[in-house]
């Protein structure tokens, strides 16, 4: 089997690990890779687009299956909105396939580069989590190959225990070979977006809470660099689909050319180069300036219409933006807190980061609701995602601070999300999942993968014995 020893990175460019990279093209080839791994005494991890901020798609010294070549759309029924895809199909390919004829993926991440396999493995959420739940709730069926070679089909009814464990199971039970999803009907290529100024954390959370039921999407930007009375200030964007008839010319607004993100700024400057000009600002002073300017610009309430792709895929707006964080990359810390305790916990967290002079450069808030998946990260409450720049000199201090954050989040009944947090320990994971959940997961793991062939750096960190 063709394999190449390659150095692989995470999305934040903050961690790398070498692995034997294999690119399977079928379920049969995935099983061959399992057999090879067993023979060589190595472990296996699946990798999609490598867009996790942590170690979910890394397997230092082991085998990594790059599923990006399994990228075919297998079936598409444009009357019912059902689509069956291989796991390497990206959200980009998916929305471009369905949007021009009036459908949209029910749940998308902030970047369209992610693959469906990765989206299911992490059970991603979008800005509509409070309404639509995670992507797993829109999976009609999936097929997967287990390390034993068994090919299984799961639906919410059939093999339900595996359905609810493999979605959000970080690829440690088996590897998806096809995914059937239900798309959502849209009547326009545009969304109506309200931009609302927010003056402090309490207001931020109350607008999220009260705004959610009246909107299809809601997301907050939080100025993480300002404290005092303005702690938690920022801006909220709440968006709604257009009803049938609201858009006079939906055929036009749904056209692909009216969705794509412009590749040049002012029509001349190529955005591919933009990250070079951002890196001089990737420090405390520069980002303070960016956050302050953004806040001042957001002070007036206004409403506008925006294409779906432009609203959702902010992370793709500046290509390779993550490179502007410099050589040591960035990490993202996302905590999920119940609505009752979020304000207390995040006040403490934001104050701590300002006191330590280790501010996050970007904060994003969302509204969430619980779901039925085994390794769920959701709560009836909110999430706050914070980006931190990693440098040669801040590692130890930042690590100690994030450990304090973990304690605050745990004490307030919070949870974490493993597509993001790279520092969470096995102890913390056990604390928020609870022993029963972890035991249940491990029992399923033993059943699907009796030889322990599926292991990632994430698995060893969070579930390692």
């Amino acid at each position: 089997m063709q394999n190449t020893f390659t150095q692989l990175e995470n999305f934040g460019h903050s961690l790398n690990a070498p692995a034997y990279l294999i690119q399977p093209k079928s379920a049969g080839e995935i099983y061959s890779a399992f057999k090879l791994a067993k023979k060589m005494g190595l472990t296996v991890t699946a990798r999609g687009a490598g867009r996790s901020y942590n170690d979910a798609a890394l397997n230092g010294g082991g085998i990594v299956l790059d599923l990006s070549a399994m990228d075919q759309i297998l079936e598409w029924d444009q009357d019912t909105g059902r689509i069956r895809c291989e796991p390497g199909v990206t959200l980009e390919k998916l929305w471009q396939h369905v949007e021009p004829i009036g459908w949209w993926p029910p749940v998308v991440s902030g970047t369209m580069k992610t693959t469906l396999g990765g989206c299911l493995a992490a059970n991603i959420h979008g800005k509509n989590n409070f309404k639509m739940g995670p992507i797993g709730e829109h999976v009609i069926e999936f097929t997967a190959v287990l390390p034993t070679g068994a090919e299984i089909t799961c639906t919410p009814k059939k093999n339900a225990d595996l359905f609810y464990a493999m979605i959000g199971g970080y690829g440690m039970l088996g590897i998806f070979t096809s995914i059937t999803l239900q798309m959502k009907r849209i009547h326009s290529g545009l969304l109506t977006v309200d931009a609302l100024p927010v003056h402090n954390l309490r207001e931020q959370l109350s607008i999220l809470l009260e705004g959610a039921p009246n909107n299809d999407y809601i997301v907050g930007w939080l100025d993480t660099m300002t404290g005092g009375k303005s702690l938690g200030r920022g801006q909220i964007h709440a968006a709604r689909y257009l009803h049938e008839g609201e858009d006079k010319n939906p055929q036009e607004t749904m056209k692909f050319k009216n969705q794509i993100l412009p590749s040049r700024i002012f029509g001349v400057f190529p955005k591919g180069l933009l990250h070079y000009f951002m890196s001089p600002f990737a420090n405390n002073l520069g980002w303070w300036g960016v956050n302050t300017a953004k806040y001042i610009a957001s002070l007036s309430k206004h409403t506008f219409r925006q294409p779906h792709a432009a609203f959702h895929f902010l992370l793709d707006y500046v290509p390779n933006w993550e490179l502007s964080y410099g050589r040591s990359g960035l990490i993202q810390y996302q905590s999920f807190l119940p609505k009752e305790t979020a304000e207390t916990a995040w006040t403490e967290i934001l104050k701590l980061s300002l006191k330590n002079r280790l501010p996050s450069y970007l904060g994003v808030t969302k509204r969430h609701r619980p779901d039925k998946f085994l390794l769920t990260h959701a709560v009836d409450g909110f999430s706050l995602a914070m980006d931190f720049k990693v440098t040669e000199t801040n590692r130890a201090k930042l690590r100690a601070m994030l450990q304090e954050f973990d304690q605050i989040v745990l004490a307030n009944g919070g949870r974490f999300y493993f597509a993001k947090n790279s520092e969470t320990t096995a102890e913390t994971a056990l604390a928020f999942y609870g022993e029963e959940t972890v035991a249940k997961y491990k029992k399923l793991k033993k059943r699907c993968d009796p030889n322990g062939l599926l292991e990632s750096d994430l698995y060893r960190r969070v579930f390692g014995d």
Partner: protein, 263 residues
């Protein structure tokens, strides 16, 4: 699925550098292992001498208060074992940044007029072919990963063929030439190859040396020199550094003079 002791996970805020030393149970190898572990490396240590190796790992791990050194029993002349063992070590460590080939033996023929093919053969089999057996898969791996550092231990004894120990001179000269060739292949692939040429170092091997042992240094001093050269990604060092100048002179002694010297 590994049966080895658990190493703390590497994270962006707690990154791990991984190294391995072939020939680590005593002398410069053991000193370098202690030094690298102290500097934060996680190490795979290899040697034939199981007991000494286990004791060294235990000492390093208890000093660091976490698992920093894993022992692997290995005889360098067991070439066929190398590819599988390397793969296991890289999987156990979760990667490999630095590879050090330290293993070496010195069996003098027992006099300037004595010849001993068996001893010469052993020295070439361990010092040179043993090195090539390891360096081949390591070089290939680093070449593909476009990263890494190789450290090979030559010797001042490899710089000239002298009357005392032709076999040892040959094994070390061969290794130095092999390392130079790897350097020329791999520098363009982002891999650094460092050749270390120690003079006299106060180790077990020194007891084999015939005649005087001027400027002998402690193995810890040699280990510090090697570590600093690794950090600066240098190509060639002598330890002690004085030997660079001594060997510069010795290398330039014309043969007509050199073959009449009792040195």
């Amino acid at each position: 699925m590994s049966d080895s002791p658990k190493i703390a996970p590497a994270t962006p805020l707690n990154p791990r550098r991984c190294g391995m030393i072939v020939g680590a149970s005593e002398g410069i190898g053991a000193a370098l292992a202690r030094k690298m572990a102290k500097e934060g490396y996680t190490l795979a240590l290899l040697s034939r001498q199981k007991d000494k190796l286990n004791a060294l790992c235990a000492e390093i791990n208890s000093a660091a208060n976490e698992t920093r050194a894993l022992p692997y029993e290995h005889d360098v002349s067991n070439y066929d074992e190398v590819p599988d063992l390397l793969r296991k070590i890289v999987a156990d460590l979760g990667g490999l940044d630095t590879f050090v080939f330290m293993a070496g033996v010195n069996y003098p023929p027992g006099g300037v007029d004595k010849y001993n093919f068996e001893n010469d053969r052993k020295m070439v089999e361990i010092n040179l072919i043993g090195g090539m057996a390891w360096l081949t898969p390591v070089a290939e791996m680093f070449q593909n990963a476009k990263a890494g550092q190789i450290v090979g231990i030559g010797s001042v004894a490899g710089d000239r063929g002298r009357i005392g120990n032709p076999g040892y001179n040959t094994s070390k000269a061969g290794l130095a030439t092999y390392l130079e060739a790897l350097r020329n292949r791999l520098t363009r692939r982002g891999v650094n190859v460092l050749t270390v040429k120690p003079g006299f170092v106060k180790t077990e091997m020194l007891k084999a040396a015939q005649g005087g042992t001027p400027f002998a240094i402690e193995p810890e001093k040699a280990a510090d020199d090697i570590y600093n050269a690794m950090r600066k990604r240098r190509q060639l060092i002598y330890t002690a550094s004085l030997w660079r100048w001594i060997m510069l002179i010795i290398q330039h002694i014309p043969s007509v003079v050199f073959r009449r010297m009792s040195f």
